[in-house]
Homo-oligomer: 263 residues x 4
């Protein structure tokens, strides 16, 4: 069984209320919750999955954080991020696997960047452009914190300047006005390769669909959304939770076509 | 740009109706659709993403199939499969990445097995048990067809006989009566590691939740489902499709806890 | 208990498959299903709720049809109709009750007209405009078939010619370009009274919201939609149906405000 | 246009934030919001739909409250109520109209009672049983406050004592253990007439479905739920709200069958 070490990061989840969860570095020594302090140094040498109590008696389980936990609790965010509700599907739709080269624009807080990087590691690479300097710095920090920096190149760069290193095996686009860059994206994508966009509003979907239709270089266009509904976990009274997230983003997927004569 | 070769597999998608899509081996030479025949040999040497016509004039784009396409069109199925709507999220929740060792039971048609294998390749491994001989053979064939056999061991074996090679970094369980095997699953899972179950009915969820509660070795239990809604892609009339899939499966996720004194 | 009479209408629902249901007049004497003929004359004098068999042995229950059944099975339709999934809520939102006067435009096939009429009967009235002569005739026939003609006036008239008989207590609008008539609708509605629109596409919602904003005479604007999900009714395996309706219409609701100085 | 009178009740909706809404009696004279006081007496003689300001300048529109507004803001509740999201459909499914006699059990806070009463008024009647004395008193007060007392008889009575006044044209059942009363309900319902149940948990649905199957006196059984999703109303950025209600209740509908020989 995997042991907690001095330089481990652990996810602490309250056994009373699993919405109370914290991603912490053991090296901090001590962690204060609203219901008492946890002595992190006492975790060293124990197995992941063990139970630890605050000095006031609330019990927490110490889990080995997964990439999912990192996205939910570890990514420092200054933007709307892409959540696992959507990013798991996108990575699968893009057909990502070891060794692939995927292009992303923009990196934002880097929550999708780490999903992409994890999917193409160890032999692939994510090349990501981010025009906003703050997000450029932020996404780099988040990718490093996820331990995936070796598989990512983030450039402080605007898509209007074109795409280097083409063609890419897949693309992920999280921009406000992606329709302005369709030709650039098309040129950067390998023949027949998949591309996914995220856009929050119907107005943007309408504009992107119109631009895709005019451009002519994308086929198999799909627009979709996910509703994720959680249930209360009391076996005697199984029922959905009272409230849920109603919307994060729409997802638009397509593939590059190379019509005869187009070059 | 990637070229189509004699031994390539291509996904042919109709430009008239993208629900008409076929996953075919170029080596077959010819492929007959309902609206005419396609000369596959003429594709050799062309770029992926090119357009090809049937002898009756219907146009298809020839795409390089992704793992997603393989699941949707390539997996031969004799069971209900886990669809990308659900499997993308599950892989992400399980925190899969290169090098991890994941246990699956049962393999079924292998649609989830290939997602797991793709996520842990090239240095990880999926160990999968399948008690039914027909599905054992079927899942092996599908994993091989996906080109992922190197990262998968499927055993024709019943979970009642225990789990070899423990502890595993993550588990995926697709069984009718998973509550009968909770202790076996718990023993096979590494401390604090994630596990996901799929179950189609509320009755099964109720029974599993009760068993998990009694067992005491799993925490952070979540029950959830995804509704995936597609939209018509006409920019002048954006609206959801008329009909959608209402249910595939419920997903139950949890983590292994090792209470003091439990061993 | 209510008896079936010679001039009754009955809803026949198959006990094998409740999607096989027929709304028939007993006076027809005989009714042919795909699985045999039913002797309707034998029903006369029996109680509603009795079971009748075809000559091939399939059993049907003979129900007294409700307004709901009439909408689902009795309304002859040449247009998209408003379904009970949406119309029940709309009638409730509009606050309809006996004695109210409600304005509708356009009548379409009359499926909403009968819901409105049923809600304001016996002392209220629905005044409905329908510019298309075919739908004008059709909606009149359907309202008469529902037995609600006494509570409805349908006029073959275009909304561009203004609204007679104002002010109305509530309004229901089912037009393609309702934004062209906002001032007319506003003038016809009583102060503070509710109005509901149905529109199928996001583009139309966007245009209507913009027009409402510019007009300034409507407040408390809400845009909403209903997803209705059915479950399989096997108690041992409770689960949602495999497929569902994903979209019928968006609903937009508002109230008339009379800003100071506006007249 | 309808005028506000001294004894009117008005719905005040903030023009800044329509979630700030209050149902108040004009006779109170003054109403204090979080952002200032409103002089209600100044409303007398004005038209409904007029705008009124607090002494701090926030504007409210004064609407004539509908039954919908009463349910949302006027019903004093000590129980989970049935919301318009569900009750509009139920009333329509039950085929309620003027003159019908409908049986309800239990009355709860009376939010469904007023919908039923409004639908069968002026010539029909709702007979409702409520075994809990607190809810019996509460539902009577709410029905009276809705102005519908003439169309409702609420009895402080347990369903175990049988149903007086049968047969009823329709039934609505909101009980924790409705399966215990199926035979009583069946006997009270007219032949072929509709019945609707609300139940919050899957466990209850499973138990009710099993009991209905064993009883044999109900057909055309449907289990369903509604998801209601609101959209942000900014025309330049149309998108669903971030969060929504995920669950209120499941709805079960059926009809009474009278099998041969059953009496």
């Amino acid at each position: 069984m995997a042991k907690i070490e001095q330089n481990s990061r652990v996810l602490l989840v309250s056994l009373e209320d699993n919405s109370r969860r914290y991603l912490v570095d053991v090296a901090r020594g001590k962690f204060s919750t609203r219901k008492g302090d946890i002595d992190l140094s006492a975790l060293v040498g124990k197995d992941f999955g063990c139970v630890v109590s605050t000095h006031l008696g609330e019990q927490f389980v110490a889990l080995r954080p997964t990439l999912y936990d990192f996205i939910m609790k570890g990514v420092r965010r200054q933007t709307q991020i892409v959540y696992p509700k959507d990013s798991g599907y996108i990575a699968l739709f893009l057909g990502l696997g070891n060794g692939m080269r995927v292009f992303e624009c923009g990196a934002g807080s880097g929550a999708m960047t780490v999903v992409l990087a994890n999917a193409v590691a160890p032999d692939g690479k994510v090349v990501s452009y981010e025009a906003d300097e703050r997000f450029y710095e932020l996404s780099r920090r988040n990718v490093a914190a996820a331990g995936l920096a070796d598989f990512v190149e983030i450039h402080h760069r605007d898509l209007a300047d074109g795409i280097d290193g083409a063609p890419y095996d897949a693309m992920f686009v999280d921009l406000r006005h992606p329709w302005e860059y369709l030709e650039t994206l098309w040129r950067g994508l390998d023949g027949g390769a998949p591309i996914a966009f995220v856009l929050p509003t119907a107005n943007q979907i309408i504009q992107l669909l119109g631009a895709i239709q005019s451009h002519g270089g994308f086929v198999d266009v799909q627009v979709l959304e996910f509703l994720m509904r959680f249930y209360k976990t009391v076996p005697e009274r199984l029922r959905p939770e009272d409230r849920m997230v109603a919307h994060t983003t729409f997802i638009i997927t397509a593939r590059k076509v190379v019509p005869d004569g187009k070059d």
